[in-house]
Symmetry: C2
Subunit: 401 residues, 2 copies
Amino acid sequence: MQEIPGGITAVRGIEAAGIHCGIKGGGKKDLALVVSEPPGVAAGVFTTNRVKAAPVQTTAHLVKAERVHGIIANSGVANACTGDRGVRDAEQMSDAAARLLGGDKGTILVASTGAIGRYLPMDNILCALPTLVERLSKDGNADAAEAIMTTDTRPKWAAVETKVGRRFARVGGIAKGAGMICPHMATMLAFLATDAHVSSEVLQTALRDAVDRSFNRITVDGDMSTNDMVLCIANGLAGNRLFGSGSPAYASFSAAVAHVCSLLAQMIVRDGEGATKFVEVRVERARTREAADRVARAVANSCLVKTALFGGDPNWGRILAAAGAAGVDVDPRFLTLRLGEVLVVRGGQPVDEARSAEAKEAVSAENVVITLDLGLGKEEAFVWTCDLSYDYVRMNSEYRT
Amino acid sequence: MQEIPGGITAVRGIEAAGIHCGIKGGGKKDLALVVSEPPGVAAGVFTTNRVKAAPVQTTAHLVKAERVHGIIANSGVANACTGDRGVRDAEQMSDAAARLLGGDKGTILVASTGAIGRYLPMDNILCALPTLVERLSKDGNADAAEAIMTTDTRPKWAAVETKVGRRFARVGGIAKGAGMICPHMATMLAFLATDAHVSSEVLQTALRDAVDRSFNRITVDGDMSTNDMVLCIANGLAGNRLFGSGSPAYASFSAAVAHVCSLLAQMIVRDGEGATKFVEVRVERARTREAADRVARAVANSCLVKTALFGGDPNWGRILAAAGAAGVDVDPRFLTLRLGEVLVVRGGQPVDEARSAEAKEAVSAENVVITLDLGLGKEEAFVWTCDLSYDYVRMNSEYRT
């Protein structure tokens, strides 16, 4: 597998476009379209929030279609908490795009991100659609990635090429993040495409696995936004033979999907609201994988740990306290903690290096790795997060409804 | 029941003192003693953190003694993650105080709060003990309350008088809080005393109930610090008859304990790190009490909700999103949300008032009440919290290990 430039349009048969239609101020791009020619099968992973936005309800249904032609998405308005009218708007947005592209109703997936509780300005969207379709091109990747941004400071895309059976297949994608620092309630969107020839079942399995190892590593289950979704369209242009989910071709394909998801997920964390650091929390030697996961998330979501990281303070006590409060088996006597390569706690007690310049350096870097060994079993887990800074507070206290 | 001045020493037979012994800098008080003459029975509620500080381990054992003479507590060093030596230090602190007071070994409860992973400066503590004992007086309440402070900006105490059977009994207490804004991992201590004549079993029941309705309303279960504890000593000087936990005397007594705990808990929230607002999150008409509780905590712990409150932004969308992510039954169609008295969401959708000046006023006040009606059942719950400000980030990123 090899990383390649070009994002989602690096995939054969995929064109994209992004324009300003008037939802956001300042002429910022706010409407994106990704189209696969020919249409293909699709897979999707959606927010587990009980308050689901209209486009999530609509697309969770559409993604099961046999022929999916593309994805239309807007930023600026989330179309969440908008009741039946919201669902009708999402359907109309999808149908109008499908008609303009000469396809059947129900072949265009739909997504939204932005302010909750506002109706979509349907006139703006419908008026802009012909221009949007006209702009579709192999060069449209950056425009589409930009048109789904909200508080993101930069567009995000990634692509890889890998061998699937005897053919080379590509997987590419675009994504947007936002307030990812604390329990994650801003929208995360990622759209992927692949030219691999793959059944919708196998595609769904590969995407589900990839999301579990990437986007779900940067958020807390059950704390997703009203609008989160990850979609992937597969158009088969690579010409490989169909494969099952136990085959070597699957291993290769799913690794490519996972790699693109992982790259996009890391970009989202690095561009988190107010983020100054990328932090990996690794938990090792837990009794169960779930326990490892819960401890990693408890540490990664602790505001006290995050603010210490922002201040470059090797505050290992807060890390141990967060781990102890995760609600799973943790025995302080067996705890070992490393900040970067520096051992700071052994047997639940600080070693001399805990107050060293090296420990401080390890948490002052732009990339911080926290490794907590529970000394209880063989399971492990990791979570990616960022620090909690003044800018996070500024961005979220000054953002106006 | 009636609130009275004087804090813990308002209780008959209780004296207190607080002095500087050299743990904290700047001559700040850091060693407190509360003594009951005669000794009495005691009850305690302790952190659920798996990483328990040495004094928690020691006191959880001592609190079962038949005759408890008092409580010694220090601030500045938490004596947590200090292994066997930490436990020996906690025991020595208790024993030395007991000896000086002329009592038996094991009659003085012990508590600590401050930095994790440091050993107690035992020489300082032991040297200061005679002075501390000498200073014991009915006027020592404020000094003792001050000596257990860490990042608290003001000392905290409360007292009430109530009729228990045919006698008037008093309940008084002191407390300290700290970083209470996010998942709660700083130390919370509260020491109560009462002159009611009560068995240790009934006292434990009353204290447990009171804590569930007060201190546990301002924190997340399983997210308590390594050092949290709430203690109560009862010396029987009120002269009432012993009572069972189903009696009218119990109702009156437990209401008094709960009221003191509730006053102290609210003081802790109001003095939370960086707090500018006191926020009550009420969840009504949930299917179960647990569901109501989880939704209330999800809203109260959301960094996005807290930063919006800091900014005085009536961002009801973030409240709904947090509720939907609580992992329990929530149906957006039945949601009703009030900010103060202002109805902003009905049937999961915003009403016109959602963007009114009144809605903004309701969340700009110093006291904010958020009422979320789930429309599903009959159960309810509340949580007290505060907003998330620049000062929280400043205090926690600049605090040095």
